[in-house]
């Protein structure tokens, strides 16, 4: 193969006209007309409806189910219980690796948490199935559940999050605290939270012999397919998952949940297509949640306001039968410079569903506590909180000494502060009032989220008609994959967006990896980029080897792909169209595959993080304690921005999740039953339009040559971090009252 460097060198993208453009959503028309088909919108012929019956106790056994009564109800076709469920080839309790979570698939009469599926009713109509499920009238033998963080025995987990060490110690914290001019210790609590995507999990499953087709929302189709293949003992190729649109995911659709598999089992049992859609209340149990946390921070600072020690200890919970440990302390790894940093985790086991990745797992609660504590430390030092953060700016990653691959946090602080008018902030709390006598407070928080990458593959084709196709089984859960990845695809094959057919959203395409960890655009985008580079290289090979081509012998100089033509890099006037090259070669098309994965060597050398600064203004009623966020400005630097329009939406969304975390959302657990008492959208508060001001985001430019060939970091989760702390700090600044329990509700503020 001639010496060309397209695969490694992104130079042919330099003129790419698609990346960076604020295109509107390619899926927008379908969505504004109601024509976008989500999983539960599929109604194939012969469809039956399934409804799960879930446990009302958190621990014990199901001792009786009135299957006869349910079966006698008109329209009911089948009741699936541990007694008659189809046999599984794989054990749902097996744990071959940490990313396989134990599922409740009616394997026994054991109840391990409230909301666990204990039976399933299949009927001709949804109403009949619902009524059938009620008629089951389960009886239990129940045992007292462990419900809160004080109910279990503490232990240090072997790993937290997706496999990080539970403890990290850098320097001597005790010595740092002893030497400090000022030291603080504070404990913060965050509640259990539930993802609550607006689309409840749904599955429409159909078996044809040992082939399975399902419509179900998935943030990782290839992994879901492998899990199903193992459970049902069929080859993965026999399974087709279609997931063109997810109605939100936020982590709870990352790995296949138990109820989704139950729908597949029911379809096998009755030999007809089955639809199973969870109710809102049924999302509080088997599809994951964010564990509550109790975080103790100890900070010391010298006379100049420079940190001498930072210790972040988190107590959190997992279920009694499986492991996911919210890595909240790790939010302190890379943000503030300190000669001594210790991050520690302990856990207890509770009788709840297994917690799961939830938008900014670890970082969200961790940043809430860290940013509050840093503010308390600034106050103790008598410093402006932004000035304090600048004095503790980490020029290198504090725990490892590695340089950052890029870090425009200073610009984020500066631009956010300027936009917000931060320099007019009085230092003392409770010193601002508005014209109606409401207390006004201003707060800041730093945002940080690691720039991760997983693995993905893509396929690119260039055809003789001058068009192209790019395929990848990527997932659009609202972040805009259909749009941003198509932009990358067009540049990758050097074509105008309209000339490229972009295919995605189903499992028969190359594995697009996981839409999670804010890594999907980077990972899937890199796969597309390298597939495009590879197919262009094939084309270039054809042209450069052919004497009749103007590109003959371009050799080391290489070529650039643009607008459906290859140009000699050293002489752009010499070019040839894709169509002519293929025509002469007598080929209908050329194709190539490419992979996206992190560059392990670069990861070793550099710390890779996206950063941001969030500024909040709140107003608090001095008598009633009611808090409203009245301004919110976020400035973020996250590498190359593929589509600023989509990215702004991601930042807004994250920031509103931050408002929600700070002021609204919490599951309130009933200590006797172990059930959430507010398992609905009336009681589980998330912000609505009326709760929010207009937001502002600033996209701070940042070029990162190390994270990946495209320079992309992630934007999906960072908005929550920083925002929660900014609001909590603004509430303190407004009132002089430091609430260390989230959400900051008026009773906590007045109490």
């Amino acid at each position: 193969m001639p010496e060309i460097t397209l695969t490694q060198d992104p130079v042919h993208l330099r003129h790419g006209s698609n990346i960076g453009r604020p295109l509107t959503r390619r899926d927008g028309l379908l969505k504004v007309t109601g024509a976008a088909r989500y999983a539960a919108d599929n109604n194939p012929k012969g469809l039956l409806h399934a409804v799960v019956a879930v446990s009302t106790v958190a621990r014990g056994r199901v001792v009786a189910l009135d299957v006869e009564a349910a079966m006698a109800h008109p329209g009911v076709v089948e009741v699936m219980t541990p007694a008659n469920r189809p046999a599984l080839a794989g054990d749902p309790d097996a744990k071959p690796n940490p990313l396989v979570f134990r599922l409740d698939l009616l394997q026994s009469d054991r109840v391990r948490y409230a909301g666990q599926p204990i039976a399933l009713v299949v009927a001709e109509t949804l109403e009949a199935a619902t009524e059938g499920a009620v008629l089951l009238a389960p009886r239990y033998e129940s045992e007292p559940p462990a419900v809160g963080l004080d109910d279990g025995e503490r232990f240090v987990p072997t790993a937290v999050g997706p496999g990080a060490p539970a403890e990290l110690r850098h320097g001597d914290v005790e010595a740092g605290l002893a030497a400090a001019a000022q030291a603080i210790e504070a404990t913060y609590e965050t509640p259990p939270q539930y993802h609550n995507p607006m689309e409840p999990h749904a599955v429409v499953a159909r078996w044809d012999g040992d082939r399975l087709t399902l419509d179900t929302p998935s943030q990782a189709m290839a992994m879901a397919r492998l899990r199903l293949a193992a459970l049902f003992g069929i080859p993965p190729e026999n399974i087709l998952i279609r997931s063109p649109f997810l109605g939100g995911g936020f982590g709870c659709k990352g790995l296949l949940s138990g109820p989704q598999v139950l729908g597949v089992m029911a379809a096998r049992l009755v030999g007809r297509p089955v639809k199973l859609a969870l109710t809102r209340a049924q999302l509080y149990g088997p599809v994951g949640h964010r564990s509550p946390t109790r975080q103790r921070l100890r900070l010391g600072a010298d006379g100049e306001g420079r940190l001498t020690a930072l210790e972040h200890h988190t107590l959190m919970s997992s279920s009694r039968f499986d492991e996911f440990f919210e890595p909240a302390s790790n939010a302190s790894h890379a943000l503030y410079a300190s000669p001594a940093i210790a991050t520690l985790h302990e856990a207890v086991r509770l009788d709840c569903g297994t917690p799961m990745f939830m938008r900014a797992p670890g970082e969200a609660p961790g940043s809430a506590a860290l940013e509050s504590a840093v503010d308390e430390m600034a106050e103790a030092c008598g410093l402006d909180p932004l000035e304090f953060r600048l004095r503790n700016y980490a020029e290198v990653e504090p725990t490892t000494g590695r340089p950052f691959s890029s870090k425009a946090l200073r610009e984020c602080y500066a631009r956010g502060a300027e936009r917000f008018g931060w320099e007019r902030r009085p230092l003392a709390p409770r010193s601002l009032r508005d014209e109606h006598g409401l207390l006004v407070g201003w707060g800041v928080g730093t945002a940080i989220f690691p720039a991760l990458m997983f693995e993905a593959e893509a396929r690119a084709v260039i055809r003789r008609d001058g068009g192209g196709t790019v395929e990848i089984g990527a997932c659009d859960m609202g972040q805009g994959a259909w749009t941003a990845l198509a932009q990358i695809a067009a540049d990758a094959v050097g074509l105008d967006g309209e000339r490229v057919e972009f295919r995605s959203g189903s499992s028969d395409l190359p594995d697009g990896g996981i839409a999670g960890g804010s890594a999907h655009t980077a990972t899937a985008g890199s796969a597309i980029h390298s597939a495009g580079a590879a197919v262009v290289a094939r084309l270039a090979e054809l042209a450069m080897a052919d004497e009749r081509s103007p590109l003959f012998g371009a050799g080391n100089a290489g070529v650039v792909a643009r607008d459906g033509r290859l140009h000699r890099r050293d002489d752009e006037s010499r070019s040839e169209g894709y169509a002519e090259i293929l025509e002469r070669a007598g080929l209908a098309e050329v194709e190539a595959r490419g992979k996206g994965a992190m560059d392990a060597a670069a990861q070793q050398r550099y710390a890779m993080q996206a950063h941001g600064a969030v500024f909040a203004e709140v107003k608090v009623d001095p008598d009633l304690g009611q808090v409203r966020v009245t301004r919110l400005v976020g400035a973020f630097a996250a590498g190359r921005i593929i589509n600023p329009r989509m990215v702004v939406s991601q930042y807004y969304g994250g920031m509103i999740w931050g408002v929600s975390f700070a002021l609204h959302e919490q599951a309130v657990m009933d200590r006797r039953s172990g059930r959430p008492m507010n398992a609905d959208l009336a009681g589980y508060h998330i912000p609505v339009n009326a709760d929010l001001p207009a937001l502002e985001t600033i996209l701070v430019e940042e070029e990162d040559p190390h994270v990946n060939a495209l320079g992309i970091k992630g934007v999906g989760e960072i908005g929550i971090t920083g925002t929660v702390g900014a609001i909590a700090n603004a509430v303190w600044h407004a009132t002089g009252v430091r609430v260390r329990q989230f959400p900051i509700t008026l009773d906590r503020l007045l109490g």
Partner: protein
């Protein structure tokens, strides 16, 4: 017990048979193939199922299908006229005022109801009117701006056509 219901949906006469306890939302989605209205909660808390019933904004998950007898139902599917999008749909599309899009039909139906009764709403009025529609993604900001901009566009279009009409009358 089954009932036969005669109603009008998006301007077309429609007759369907349903269970007495079936919701309008379920009938729209499961019997009539109108899956644009979504179920986010089935308890009236999220607005994803918003439709118009005789010109009134309702949560179709809280309405029995039998209640549609003799009434006018308007859903997201009837919002565009053929291929011509309603100005709100066009604005949501142009401004990318949507993310996962599952809440979008509900927001559009609710926003249209707002502009029909109040063509010139303030930002606060938009925020409170749309407080019954939840968006977890959460695209509130762009949605509010899209509604306000649509209202402004529609007003100036109205003024133009009113201006033309009165000009036409003068010349006659």
């Amino acid at each position: 017990m089954t009932v036969t219901v005669t109603t009008t949906i998006n301007g077309d006469a429609e007759e369907f048979v349903c269970e007495a306890d079936e919701t309008l939302l379920d009938v729209l989605r499961d019997h009539l193939g109108l899956t644009g209205s979504k179920e986010g909660c089935a308890t009236g808390d999220c607005g994803a199922c918003s439709v118009m019933l005789d010109g009134r904004l309702v949560c179709s998950c809280l309405v029995l299908a039998a209640e549609a007898e003799g009434r006018q139902v308007e859903t997201i599917e009837g919002m565009a006229r053929g291929r011509e999008l309603h100005p709100l749909q066009q604005k949501f599309l142009d401004a990318a005022a949507l993310q996962c899009g599952i809440c979008t039909p509900g927001f559009l139906v609710a926003a249209k109801a707002l502009l029909e009764r109040n063509p010139d709403p303030s930002e606060t009025e938009v925020r409170y009117w749309l407080a019954g529609n939840l968006c977890r993604c959460t695209g509130y900001d762009k949605i509010v701006r899209a509604v306000l901009e649509t209202a402004a566009d529609m007003k100036s279009a109205d003024m133009k056509s009113a201006g033309m009409k009165s000009a036409g009358m003068r010349s006659a």
